[in-house]
C-alpha cells in the first residue's frame, strides 16, 4: 500500500475514507467537501509531491443505487509514484465537485469532458462548457447509464434538428461578440448574452 495513505489519514483524519489496493494501484476515497484541499496538499507537501495530474474521469456503475465516482489519477514524476483518488457522488444529491483547475491547468479540458459526458458540475471551473458534444446538444449526458446507446432522438429527429439549427449556433456567444455579429443574433440569444449567460442547454435540469 502506498505510504501516502497513512500520511493522508494523519493529516485529514475522517475526510479520508477507505483505501484499497487493486491491480497494483492504490485507491483512496476522500470526502467531497475537502477534496480540493487534499489534492492541493498532495501536490505541494514535500515527500508527497504528486505534481502531475494524469487523468480526471468519472465512473457510473450499472447498479442504480451505487454512487457515481469522480476519479483523479495523480503521479509524482520524480518519486515515480502513483495514487488514485476517488470522490463519491451519491445519486440523491447534486452532482457537484470543486474544480482542480487552479491546482492543475491540465484539468481544464478533462473536467469539461466529465461535465459533458456525465453531467457532473465542477464548481469554480473557468470555462465549463460542453467539449465533445456541441453547446446546444439537448439529449443529455452520453456516458450515463440511463442514456441509450443509440441516443435519445430518432435519426429523423436528429436530422430535423441539424437542418433547423441556426448557423450562428456554431459560434459561442463570446466569439460572436468579438466579431460584432451581435446585431444579427436571434432575440433570445441576444437576451441571454445581455444577461451574461452563455450557451445554456435548453433541456438541461
Amino acid at each position: 500500500m502506498n505510504s501516502s495513505v497513512d500520511a493522508l489519514r494523519a493529516t485529514f483524519g475522517t475526510a479520508i475514507g477507505r483505501a484499497l489496493e487493486v491491480c497494483g494501484d492504490t485507491i483512496v476515497y476522500v470526502d467531497r467537501a475537502r477534496a480540493p484541499e487534499i489534492l492541493k496538499w498532495l501536490k505541494e507537501t514535500p515527500g508527497e509531491e504528486y505534481n502531475y495530474l494524469v487523468d480526471v474521469t468519472a465512473v457510473e456503475y450499472r447498479d442504480p443505487e451505487r454512487a457515481l465516482e469522480v476519479v483523479y489519477f495523480l503521479r509524482s514524476l520524480h518519486r515515480r509514484a502513483d495514487l488514485r483518488l476517488k470522490i463519491e457522488l451519491p445519486r440523491d444529491q447534486e452532482l457537484v465537485v470543486d474544480s482542480v483547475v487552479p491546482v492543475w491547468q491540465g484539468a481544464n479540458w478533462l473536467e469539461r469532458e466529465v461535465y459533458d459526458m456525465f453531467g457532473i458540475t465542477f464548481r469554480g471551473h473557468p470555462d465549463l462548457r460542453r467539449i465533445l458534444m456541441w453547446e446546444t446538444y439537448a439529449e443529455g449526458y452520453p456516458l450515463r447509464k440511463d442514456f441509450p446507446l443509440r441516443g435519445r432522438f430518432s435519426r429523423a429527429e436528429q436530422v430535423r434538428q441539424a437542418l433547423a439549427a441556426n448557423p450562428e449556433a456554431h459560434y459561442s456567444m463570446e466569439e460572436l461578440s468579438i466579431a460584432e455579429a451581435f446585431d444579427g443574433l436571434p432575440e433570445d440569444m441576444k437576451e441571454r448574452l445581455r444577461r451574461g449567460e452563455r450557451g445554456k442547454l435548453p433541456y438541461s435540469e
Partner: protein, 428 residues
C-alpha cells in the same frame, strides 16, 4: 576599365547592433496616407480555421481572435469526429473492444491495441508469454516510427518543406507492408487479443523488419540534413510555442511534448511494461520546449525505436504467442471442430465473452503521442462498466491557446502541428 563602387542607400532606416536591418512598423514612417487612416488598434478580427483545413490535421476547428496578425485568443472546437467509443465499449466484450482501439489513434493502431490488451490483462491477472511480450514491443515501436513519420511529413508541409514529406511517407509505407504481412490489414490492425496476439508473425516478417531497421536510419539522416539546419525551418520553429518544464507538467503534457520541455519522463523507463527496462535505449529530452525541440525529440526517438526494434528482433524467443488458458484464448479451429471440450470453450467465449473479476485497472503506455492510458472498471461481467481512454493528444492540445497567444497567426500553424494531434483520438 576601372572598377566603380556604388553605394546604395539602405532601404530600411537603420541597422541593429549586429548590422542587421531593423524592421520598422508600418505607419510610423510619417506617411500621411498611413497616419491619417482610422486607428485600427483595438479592433479585433475573428477568423475561423477549419474544421476542413489542411493545417489543422483533421477536423479540428479553431476560432481565432486576431489583432492584425497577432493571435489574441484561440478557441478550439473539437468533437467533429466523436464516435462514442467509450460508450460503445460498455456494450462489448473485451476482445470486441480491440477493433475500436484501432480507430482512436489511427496513426499508431498497433500500439493502441497493445495498450488496451495490457489493461484487460492487468484486470484479469493474465501473464502473457515471452514471445508475445517481444512481439508487442515490436508492434509498439513500429507504430512509433510510422506515427512520427506522419508527424514529420505533415509538419514539414505545413512549414513549407515538401520533400521530407515524401521520404517520410515512403518509410511509412514500408512499415505498412510489414503490418499487412502480419495482420492482413494496413491501418485497422486489431493485432492483439486479451492474453496474446491475433496471429504470430509470418516467417518473412522478421527478415523484412530487419531489412527495414538497416535501411531506415538513412532516411532519418537525410531528413536531418534538409531540416535541422535549414534557415526557414529554424526560423519558423525556434522559440515558437515555448512551454517551460513547469508549465508542461502543470498542463499534464506527456510524450515528446513533455520531454521537449526538459522533463525526462518516459513511461517505458519510469513505469515499465512489456519488459522495456531490459532494452537499451535513451530517453530523448529537449531543452527549450519549443517547436524545434519537439522536432528534434521526435527525430531522435525514431533512432531509439529503431534500436529497440533491432534488440527485439535479436531476442525474439520461440514458443507460443498465446497464454495456455482456454478461458481467454480461443482454441484452434481444428480442435474446436473435433474436440468436445474445445468446442464448449469456443462457444462460451464467443457467446458469453471473457469474464473479468470485479475491480479496476489502469495501464499507461508510452504511445507516440504521449501516455495512452486505458482505464477499465469491471463489475464481474464480460463487459466493462467503464472504459476510459486517457487520450494524450487531447490533453496536449488543451494547451494550444496558451502556446499560441501573443504569437503570429503563422506561428499558430507551427504550434498546432507540433502538438501532433490525431482527431480520432482527441474526439474518440
Amino acid at each position: 576599365m576601372s572598377k566603380r563602387t556604388v553605394e546604395f542607400e539602405v532601404a530600411t532606416p537603420g541597422l541593429g547592433a549586429q548590422g542587421q536591418p531593423q524592421r520598422v512598423p508600418l505607419g510610423v514612417a510619417g506617411d500621411p496616407a498611413v497616419t491619417d487612416a482610422p486607428d485600427a488598434a483595438g479592433e479585433h478580427m475573428l477568423i475561423n480555421l477549419g474544421p476542413q483545413h489542411p493545417a489543422t490535421h483533421g477536423v479540428l476547428r479553431l476560432v481565432v481572435e486576431l489583432d492584425g496578425e497577432t493571435v489574441i485568443r484561440v478557441i478550439p472546437h473539437i468533437g467533429y469526429l466523436h464516435s462514442g467509443f467509450e460508450k460503445l465499449g460498455e456494450y462489448r466484450h473485451y476482445n470486441q473492444i480491440i477493433p475500436l482501439t484501432d480507430r482512436t489513434d489511427y496513426l499508431s493502431p498497433m500500439a493502441n491495441n497493445v495498450g488496451f490488451a495490457l489493461a484487460a490483462e492487468q484486470l484479469m491477472g493474465i501473464e502473457i508469454t515471452p514471445r508475445c511480450t517481444v512481439l508487442r514491443v515490436i508492434a509498439c515501436e513500429m507504430s512509433r516510427i510510422i506515427s512520427h513519420m506522419v508527424w514529420l511529413g505533415t509538419t514539414s508541409i505545413d512549414l513549407g518543406a515538401f520533400t521530407p514529406f515524401l521520404w517520410a511517407f515512403q518509410e511509412r509505407e514500408r512499415i505498412y507492408n510489414l503490418q499487412e504481412m502480419w495482420t492482413g490489414a494496413r491501418l485497422t490492425t486489431s493485432v492483439t487479443r486479451v492474453g496474446g496476439m491475433m496471429a504470430d508473425v509470418p516467417d518473412e516478417f522478421v527478415d523484412g523488419l530487419r531489412h527495414f531497421t538497416d535501411t531506415f536510419p538513412k532516411t532519418l539522416y537525410e531528413i536531418d540534413r534538409v531540416l535541422t539546419k535549414n534557415a526557414v525551418w529554424v526560423g519558423r520553429t525556434q522559440g515558437v510555442g515555448v512551454m517551460t518544464a513547469e508549465e508542461a507538467v502543470n498542463y499534464s503534457f506527456s510524450g515528446p511534448m513533455l520531454r521537449a520541455s526538459g522533463v525526462p519522463y518516459d513511461v517505458r523507463k519510469d513505469r515499465p511494461y512489456l519488459g522495456y527496462e531490459t532494452y537499451d535505449f535513451d530517453v530523448v529530452v529537449g531543452e527549450h520546449g519549443d517547436v524545434y525541440d519537439r522536432y528534434l525529440v521526435r527525430l531522435e526517438e525514431c533512432h531509439q525505436s529503431n534500436r529497440i526494434l533491432r534488440q527485439a528482433l535479436d531476442r525474439l524467443p520461440a514458443g507460443p504467442v498465446n497464454v495456455d488458458d482456454p478461458r481467454v484464448i480461443l482454441p484452434p479451429k481444428s480442435r474446436a471442430m473435433s474436440d468436445m471440450e474445445a468446442m464448449i470453450y469456443h462457444f462460451k467465449q464467443v457467446m458469453e465473452g471473457v469474464k473479468a473479476p470485479v475491480g479496476e485497472a489502469y495501464a499507461g503506455i508510452e504511445n507516440p503521442k504521449g501516455e495512452l492510458g486505458n482505464y477499465l472498471v469491471s463489475d464481474g461481467t464480460a463487459k466493462p462498466v467503464r472504459w476510459r481512454i486517457r487520450p494524450p493528444s487531447f490533453i496536449n492540445l488543451a494547451a494550444l491557446s496558451k502556446m499560441a497567444e501573443g504569437r503570429l497567426l503563422s506561428d499558430l500553424i507551427a504550434i498546432n502541428a507540433s502538438v501532433d494531434i490525431v482527431m480520432g483520438e482527441v474526439d474518440r
